[in-house]
Amino acid sequence: MIRLVDVWRSYSLGGQELHALAGVTEDVLDGEHVAVMGPSGSGKSTLLNVIGLLDRPTRGRYELDGREVSDLDDAELSRVRRDRVGHVFQAYHLVARLDAQRNVELPMLFAGVPRAERHERARAALAEVGLAKRSGHRPSELSGGERQRVAIARATVLRPTVILADEPTGNLDRAAGQQVLELLERLNHGGTTLMVVTHDLDVARRARRVLILEDGRVVNRLAGHELKSLAEALAAKRVEP
């Protein structure tokens, strides 16, 4: 479970303090599917970075699966990030010189998984996303949808408890985006917590819960099927714990 208690992330810019997150308190239950929406600069990506342990809160508490993680040292933080969190990015972020198989192997490489097991598990992860026959291809030889599926295979190969997807369909056409969403939802149905940052209402509506962010704060929470438009959700601003 993800628990954020009065989490702030502030930056000092030109002598002024800017708050990318301004006191976010939120629980995300195990296996939940949560979408995060908000205008540009509302703090969506910062929230995902803090939850994904790529960034640390300036203040506040962050517990992941019952453990306070905001003050871990770099090595421990990296270990928790590697084992518990899977990142899916809008731009896929695959290493161009490595083929799909080796891209998927990367987290296992850092986890010290033996070579043979690494090969086996990467092959299985690629098969799960329907790319068993594309394992030897480099990213430049794959379509956008295929690249994102490789990224999902990489994000899930160590069986994390949370998958954080930042605009996972943002660079894809409708069909490819649909395929990627189905894949993520399948993982979510399997018990993995899924948090998706999106501008796409259709993507957000598929979530069980939608968090609306504005100026670093959660200003609205609603069920996915209740979401009509971002403007309406922002206007409503009914924040309940």
């Binding site: 990296s78 590697r82 987290p107």
Partner: protein, 399 residues
Amino acid sequence: MRASELVAFALTALREHKLRSVLSMLGIAIGVAAVVLLTSVGEGARGFVAAQFSQFGTNLMQVTPGRLETAGIPGMLGGSTRKLTFEDAEALRRVRGVRRVVPTIVGQGAVQAAGRSRDVYVLATTSEAPEAWRLSVRRGVFLAGSDPTRSGSGAVLGPKLARELFGDGDAYGAWVRIAGARLRVVGIMESKGEMLAFDLDDVAYVDLATGMRIFDTDELSEIDVEFDPGVGSEAVVAGVSRVLRERHGREDFTVTTQAAMLETFDAVLRAVTTGVAAIGGISLLVGAIGVLTILWIAVGERTHEIGLLRALGATRTTILWLFLAESAVLAGLGGAAGLALGYGAAGALQLAVPALPLQASPGFAAAGLAVSVLTGLVAGAAPARRAARLDPIEALRAE
């Protein structure tokens, strides 16, 4: 990550920019090749000198007039204060452990025969010289039976001198004129080659008394003492010094053992070798700067990748090692290429100039590789540190 995995990952990065990688390897390769080649020459020179000295045996010592430690070069530039005489040499025979004593006068003179003349070194010595100096007589005898105190009529020629004077004709038994003295060739030596540019085949040997007569001197250039290796050089040096001190009333001579001379040359040449290796090392330093530059650029270009690897769970230490491995592999491969280049060049040089003493010991290869990898690690330290300190989010945002 295991070392093998770090290396494999580094290779994928290096392969991505083949030309750039090869060029930066070349810097290291040239440096290592220079070190290998120059050190081979230095080591070769050391080996050459050692061989030159040991061809006369190592249980030999040389007594020269004058104190080497005080002034001048004995016997040549005013270093001598009292001459060494034949009687001094005879007195040394009673020192325990002395096997042979060879008094010698070294002079230069014209050797004339068959209408030809040749200026050579003339060594006036005794019949014990061949045994002490490990020389062999090809034909005839070496001044055998001659009395050192009475001038004889025999001379012995080095093979080159005999050839130069008599061509294909027979020198043995022929009459020659050495520095004006008419002598009969009673022996021709086996070839011995050169010793530090002194051609031992192009000399004439006469007995001591003849030498004294033709050079008009009773002063010896040196006394060579062959000693029993079982006794030990230190005891013999002490005995020889004691006898000569008693005779001269003070220590106005120098005793140098072959081993000491060899040691001195060895130390000098070792210093020279180190010096030339250091000069080669400058090229290696230039290569290291090349590796540093390339890696610094690579970190800038791959900032995004570094952010991604951090997001996937790589620690700062892992990132540090990934880049250190890259620079070590780059420099290591460069070093291996440099070794091949260095040994190849040494081989080619040896083929082109067979007389050049070259000695590339296998230890150089291991040391060369180790130095290359170490150079890579040092050169890669700053870029690797920079990579490791990147903020993952900032790095991920980089294009």
